[in-house]
Subunit: 118 residues, 4 copies
């Protein structure tokens, strides 16, 4: 049972986490990712929940299935993940910026926070 927040479905958070691991190089193209069973046991969730995460990534072309063998990372995984995440970010940022302006937050505050982060 690892840390999941309740704002988004667990399977989405699991998919996200796997994406992060792929992006970080933990799993490379044609590497096998943990099986649904292993993944479930690892994170303390139901098999169907893991399966749903895998199914989604599969639909997005990030992993693929070889029957009876498991799920594997596609060649395009990194590219697809990056694109997806960038798109999400680029959609969210402009409206956040507008809100910040209304709240009196300036670019200098952002730069400072950036430098403090991590």
């Amino acid at each position: 049972m690892t840390e999941f927040n309740n704002e988004r479905p667990i399977y989405v958070q699991m998919a996200d986490r796997l994406c992060d691991e792929i992006l970080a190089g933990r799993y490379k193209p044609d590497d096998r990712v943990p099986s649904v069973r292993e993944y479930s046991a690892m994170l303390g969730v139901n098999m169907n929940t893991s399966f749903k995460a895998f199914e989604q990534l599969s639909r997005e072309g990030i992993i693929y299935n070889r029957r009876g063998l498991g799920y594997f990372v596609t060649q395009e995984a990194c590219r697809l993940i990056s694109e997806k995440k960038k798109k999400e970010l680029m959609n969210r940022l402009p409206q956040m910026f507008r809100q910040m302006r209304l709240l009196g937050i300036g670019i200098s505050d952002i730069v400072q926070l950036w430098n403090e982060t991590e």
Copy 2:
């Protein structure tokens, strides 16, 4: 029927929108905001949904209720809204920044986007 996205509850989006209008000066302290009934009709949603939005803002001290008259903007509304939004933003930014680093997005890209926004 106005445009709501399906990611967040409708009542949350309605509350948010009302906050934005208050922040923009559309409703000032002690101004009466539209009634639950008007608000529902305006946005084409169920009255219970509007009510839930008002109730939430009421709990947060942003509007108050005068029985039989409707909901009114509090004196502290703007301040409370600003604080709430700032807090939310400041919570979300650090994790976004970390993600951006992984994606190869730098502070310069952000500054540029900031300058382009609006």
Copy 3:
């Protein structure tokens, strides 16, 4: 419990059937289709199975969801269904034709079968 064959998953067959009904004009754009619960009861399957069928059609843009109200037929449903089915057919036919030639079946046999069908 209605007639389902075991070759394809039940949820696929359910999705297919709903598509046929939409195509036949039984449900028109912005019509509400039966709820997951009704559909399950009607066909004698589990709610999750119905849900999976709806979810898939939803992803394909054939129906859409209005929260708490149910699923509704999109404006493009008919077009999307037709395209999907035509694509499937046009992929399958050529290889069937080649096989038929090998088996000594001619176009005249096909025409005859066509005229006898239905």
Copy 4:
């Protein structure tokens, strides 16, 4: 690792392919077909998968087993394969025709596609 699609079991596709080769005259009655081992290596699949394909064809009387020697094509192989395929085709066509009618595809379109094929 040859190209198999994920819609049908691999062993079925393998059996199908072998049938096609027999029909094409690649293997004649009483010819020995490749061993399970060779076949597996050739196509890059598990030996059990090859075995399942052979076993199925054996049950259908298309090949027969001589202990310690391998599998051999029966005298009736071609006839059985043809019959099987014709039966399958003739079962599938009527429902395809009904679908086509719904999609506005006419017999003339089919004839045209027939003439264009191969």
